[in-house]
């Protein structure tokens, strides 16, 4: 909301001059200052003059010679505009005047005639740009008076953001009340007086929806003449960000800005039957609003009907036919209180948010409606020559009374941490217009203008606000014992390990679409297809929550390739959303944290020697390293087809016997769908099993005796997983087996292969003899050959 300092000063004597200081004052009251605009006087030397006579220019058709009366003298100027007559009041830029753009007016000869100044248009004076012609002034002006005196300049405009709890602050008077309360100054109320004249109005109003419309005040004003508002009204409206339209419409906007209560004027001659009914719209109802749009109404919309049908979308926008126009002579001033949520939803629904709806949806003071109607009526009498009809229609079946809130003094200290005496608190609250009695508790009577003050805590807030948040000290309490949980610590170790492995963390938005799952090549029954859908998605491509982190990472990787970075190593840790109930709350979907990594492009390499393409082993190595760095030695890989992955290069990741994810290379078709032609290695696992705390490990003293090492090569079908061989070797001995490592793999042809392991055995309490080593070797061979369809090569 734009607040004019000049307008504000009509109600309170703001003592500061510095606009930044005033801005700080307003911000300190809770009215955030989004901008400060200083309006300077755009010209000098312009005064009010009356056109005395007009004669043609002897040598030109399109320009005329105009004699103007400056009050104590007359003079002739040359003028090219034709939109005025003898008797009109006009702004005259005298010789020596300076107009906007540093345009200095001198005596100037035009086609042989000397013009001692010029009469001006709005645009030439630097405000508004409505007319091409001369600005013709209507109303009371003093001849020869400096025209600036009528323009409410200079001024400072504060653009305030009013919080939704403060409907009372949506006006000049409301802000003035806050300022007066803060600075302990007198608040001057506008004087509202209307001389009503018989006959009384014939208007009848029926409220069929008292919830939607608790109060409706209507006043008839007759004999109005539509025309421009006085310059000062127009200037104030412009300062407040409202475009002046006509004296009839301007009166309502002026009162809205002044008092905070929106009103509406109808052309009463266009209201059929002189009878209005307020009700909710019916199914199929439509209304052509005054912006010319035909609107399908919703049963939630509150509307006003006359004898012929709906004439207005209440609180939001009037209908075309009853709109006031140049020919209007009789108006109905409406000042009603509308149910705030109804207005909020209507204005949102019809995309018609306005200064009026912004006030109604916050909740306008219902006890202000009669004053607002009277104020508009007064302005119509003063500025449009109207005559107020003597009966005021005021339908207010259930008047809202002031309420009482009791505030125990101790509550102030309990919440704010500072001592405020009952006297001081009483003073602060009274300055806001609240009626306070008692000393502890304070008994506070709150008027309906402050719907936000219903509880003791609300009064504590007002006391804090006026006392000043900056006068509350800073103290630092300590929590009851902080720190990260073990799994939070381990999550950090997990990230550190990933970074150490050369992967960079990504953060993707988390929405995917069916197209992403198709691109990934997931079969119809893949559990990742069971996504949670967003009802109002950002776009069709982002219509579901991610069930896997891979599409997001693939797109991020693909973008990097398009930026020219072809070696991509990314990881992300985040929630996925599964269409099953959450273990913490069955109402919401399960949303476990996943870890995913992708790797593409080349790995390793050095100067003069290119690296090799990334493949699945880069990520199985990462997975194993992660597990080890978190203290787990039971993570393994089980060769398996995984949807979307290369059938021969994919595996389930197991922790113990539980599948916690998968690793592999993308199926080439899936990779191509994300614009990759090279191998792309992917890993996706659940995070929680990794972050669980392993059992405490027990210390084992290292043997001081030397190991015996030997190699064993076995021949087998190519399909036998190497992991099975390693596992079989490992399980063949007890603590004497120190290590086993695969060191050679050889294709024998014919669907057979050779795998060789190197084994170290060591005893805790003696140096192994060759015989002992040989018996361990034989035990391993026997065990492995009994467990697996393999045969020792070169063996017996």
């Amino acid at each position: 909301m734009k607040v004019s300092l000049r307008w504000l000063r009509e109600f309170v004597d703001v003592p500061m001059e510095d606009s930044v200081e005033i801005g700080d004052l307003l911000a300190g009251l809770g009215h955030e200052v989004e901008g400060i605009e200083v309006l300077e006087v755009p010209f000098t030397g312009v005064e009010v003059a009356r056109v005395e006579s007009i004669r043609p220019h002897p040598d030109a058709d399109k320009i005329r010679l105009v004699t103007v009366d400056r009050g104590d003298s007359s003079q002739e100027v040359v003028c090219g505009a034709w939109n005025f007559d003898v008797g009109d009041l006009v702004p005259l830029a005298t010789v020596g005047a300076v107009l906007p753009g540093d345009f200095e007016i001198g005596a100037r000869e035009i086609r042989g005639i000397v013009s001692e100044g010029m009469i001006c248009s709005e645009r030439e004076l630097g405000f508004g740009d409505e007319h091409d012609g001369i600005l013709v002034l209507e109303g009371d002006y003093e001849l020869g008076r400096d025209f600036v005196d009528y323009l409410e300049l200079p001024d400072v405009i504060f653009d305030l953001s009013i919080t939704p709890n403060r409907p009372d602050a949506m006006s000049m008077l409301g802000i003035a009340r806050d300022v007066a309360a803060k600075l302990d100054l007198e608040l001057r109320q506008p004087v509202i007086e209307v001389d009503a004249v018989d006959p009384p109005t014939a208007l009848q109003v029926e409220i069929a929806d008292p919830k939607g419309c608790p109060r409706f005040v209507g006043r008839e004003v007759r004999s109005v003449t539509s025309g421009p508002s006085p310059m000062w009204v127009q200037a104030r409206l412009r300062a407040a960000g409202v475009r002046p339209i006509s004296n009839l419409v301007d009166a309502t906007n002026y009162v809205m800005m002044e008092l905070g209560h929106p009103t509406h004027v109808f052309d009463l001659d266009q209201v059929a039957g002189e009878r209005l009914r307020i009700h909710r719209a019916g199914a199929g109802d439509t209304l052509i609003t005054l912006d010319g749009v035909e609107r399908a109404l919703d049963p939630g919309d509150i509307v006003i009907s006359d004898a012929n049908g709906i004439v207005s979308l209440a609180g939001v926008m009037g209908g075309g036919p009853t709109e006031v126009s140049e020919g209007t002579t009789r108006v109905l001033v409406e000042a009603a209180h509308w149910h705030p949520p109804a207005i909020l939803y209507s204005s949102k629904r019809h995309n018609l948010r306005s200064e009026a709806s912004a006030r109604f949806e916050r909740g306008v003071d219902p006890n202000l409606s009669d004053r607002a109607a009277a104020r508009v009526t007064q302005l119509l009498v003063d500025h449009a020559g109207g005559e107020a009809a003597s009966r005021v229609v005021d339908v207010y079946p259930d008047p809202v009374d002031a309420w009482t809130v009791e505030l125990p003094i101790a509550e102030i200290r309990r919440v704010l941490g500072i001592e405020i005496s009952p006297d001081v608190a009483t003073g602060l609250l009274e300055r806001l217009g609240l009626d306070v009695s008692g000393s502890d508790p304070l008994v506070v009577v709150v008027p309906p203008a402050r719907p936000d003050l219903t509880r003791p805590i609300d009064l504590v807030e007002e006391i804090a606000r006026l006392h000043g948040y900056d006068h509350i000290p800073e103290t630092l309490p300590h929590g009851t014992g902080g720190g990260l949980t073990p799994s939070q610590h381990r999550a950090r170790r997990l990230r550190a390990a990933l970074m150490g492995a050369g992967l960079t963390e990504a953060n993707t938005l988390g929405f995917i679409g069916a197209a992403d799952l198709d691109a990934l090549g997931l079969p119809e029954d893949d559990p990742r297809r069971a996504t949670v859908r967003v009802k109002n998605p950002l776009s069709e491509a982002e219509e579901t929550l991610r069930s896997t982190l891979v599409p997001g990472l693939m797109k991020a990787a693909s973008r990097n390739v398009s930026y020219g970075q072809t070696d991509v190593a990314l990881f992300e840790i985040g929630r996925v959303f599964l269409h099953v109930p959450s273990p913490i709350d069955e109402r919401i979907p399960h949303q476990p944290h996943h870890l995913a990594a992708i790797l593409s492009g080349t790995v390793g390499g050095e100067l003069g020697r290119p690296g090799r393409p990334a493949d699945v082993y880069d990520l199985t190595a990462v997975a194993e390293m992660l597990a080890r760095s978190l203290g787990w030695d039971d993570v393994s890989f089980r060769q398996a087809a995984v949807g979307g992955l290369h059938p021969g290069r994919s595996a389930q990741v197991l922790k113990g016997d539980t599948v916690i994810g998968y690793v592999g290379e993308l199926h080439p078709a899936s990779a191509r769908a994300f614009d990759f032609t090279d191998r792309v290695a992917v890993l996706e696992v659940e995070v929680a099993p990794l972050l669980a705390e392993p059992a405490w490990w027990g210390f084992g003293s290292p043997s001081v005796y030397p190991p015996q090492k030997f190699d064993l090569a076995f021949e087998m079908e190519s399909t036998v997983p190497a992991a099975n061989l390693v596992a079989a070797v490992r399980s063949s001995l007890g603590s004497e087996l120190e290590s086993v490592r695969l060191f050679d793999e050889f294709d024998l042809g014919g669907g057979r292969k050779s795998l060789a392991v190197t084994v170290a055995v060591r005893a805790a309490d003696n140096t192994l003899t060759d015989d002992e080593a040989q018996s361990f070797r034989q035990a391993i061979i026997d065990h492995v050959q009994s467990k697996l369809p393999v045969k020792l090569r070169g063996g017996e």
Binding site: L416, L484, Q488, T504, R559, F577
Partner: protein, 344 residues
């Protein structure tokens, strides 16, 4: 015995003249080898008079030791010279990396979350987490947001097609949900920071992202006051933006706090004198905060007459962007390696 004196007299010169290990080997053979004069004389000792033998033997040993010492010394010199020659040939240019050991970076959002978490765990807070897909009750009702509040509209909040329609499952729009989740699961006192993802129906632009991160702070106990809130935020500002920072809090409105405030921190770039970073105001608007509204306590089953509390919530991206001079939030979600690798 004159032979021996002559040999010793010329030995040093001969040994020093050996320019290679091979030459030295040859000289060593001549001086102390099997057919050397010394070896011959040793063999002849047996023929001497037993009375002379000890003296002659001692003299021979002394001479042999001396010669061996000279030879060994020369050998060490020659060995070092030989290795030096090898090393000279083994030179490489180590000023350039031949092999790159790739290191990853964590995301700025993660780093910021960790940093803020550490700032608050140091004063006794714990880190709390909560679901991102939430009930409307946790996101709105428990937080004193009326049924008609515009933030509930689909133009602001993303709703999910999941579960019982009356639960109105949605993507949380604020981490304040964790306030309700935490308080309904434990009695006071509570001191938590809840960092996490939030979602709003926003169009991506320089300052808005439909997905963003917040950190929520909540302290509930007997005797917590607005002064404690100010002190805590002031501590945070100094820890995160530097020891000279000051804060101001100005009144604001949130449904779930009363009184409510907006916290501003003095600009770290200009120390409050006004610059481009702070739009010439000297202050940076940082987060919303306030005293927990009694209605929130009632919603989660706390007694508002027994405890008080404060809450605050800020944008992770906001504080990180301010501190690092990032002007477009989209950089944080594009995952361009040229950007993410700056997050060292």
């Amino acid at each position: 015995m004159d032979d021996l004196d002559a040999i010793l007299g010329s030995a040093l010169e001969r040994i020093d003249a050996a320019g290679t290990l091979e030459a030295l080997d040859r000289i060593e053979g001549e001086l102390v080898g099997r057919s050397s004069v010394i070896a011959e004389q040793r063999r002849g000792l047996g023929k001497l008079d037993p009375a002379e033998r000890p003296v002659a033997g001692a003299r021979l040993n002394e001479a042999a030791q001396r010669l061996q010492g000279l030879l060994d010394g020369r050998r060490r010199v020659l060995e070092v010279e030989a290795e030096d020659r090898l090393l000279a040939e083994d030179r490489v240019d180590v000023t350039v990396q031949r092999r790159i050991l790739r290191t990853g970076t964590s995301h700025l959002i993660t780093q910021t979350i960790d940093e803020i978490s550490d700032i608050f765990t140091a004063i006794g807070y714990q880190i709390a987490d909560g679901p991102e897909a939430e009930t409307a009750w946790h996101n709105f009702d428990a937080l004193n947001t009326p049924w008609w509040h515009p933030s509930r509209l689909e133009s602001d909040t993303m709703y999910l097609d999941y579960g019982d329609p009356k639960d109105e499952i949605l993507l949380r729009t604020q981490t304040s949900t964790v306030q309700a989740r935490t308080m309904e699961s434990q009695p006071p006192p509570v001191h938590i920071i809840a960092p996490g993802r939030c979602y709003r129906t926003d169009t991506f632009d320089a300052t808005h992202s439909p997905v963003f991160h917040q950190f929520e702070g909540l302290a509930v106990a007997e005797g917590i006051t607005f002064a404690d809130l100010k002190g805590t935020l002031s501590y945070f500002a100094r820890e995160y933006f530097g020891p000279d920072r000051t804060i101001k809090v100005i009144p604001h409105f949130f449904p779930f706090t009363e009184p409510s405030a907006e916290m501003h921190v003095s600009c770290f770039a200009c120390d409050g004198s006004g610059c481009r970073v702070c739009s010439q105001t000297g202050w940076l608007e940082l987060l919303g905060c306030g005293m927990v509204d009694p209605n929130v306590f009632e919603a989660v089953g706390y007694d508002p007459s027994a405890v008080t509390g404060f809450a605050f919530g800020g944008g992770i991206e906001r504080v990180a962007m301010v501190r690092h001079g990032i002007e477009d939030i989209r950089h944080l979600f594009d995952n361009d390696l040229r950007v993410n690798e700056q997050f060292v």
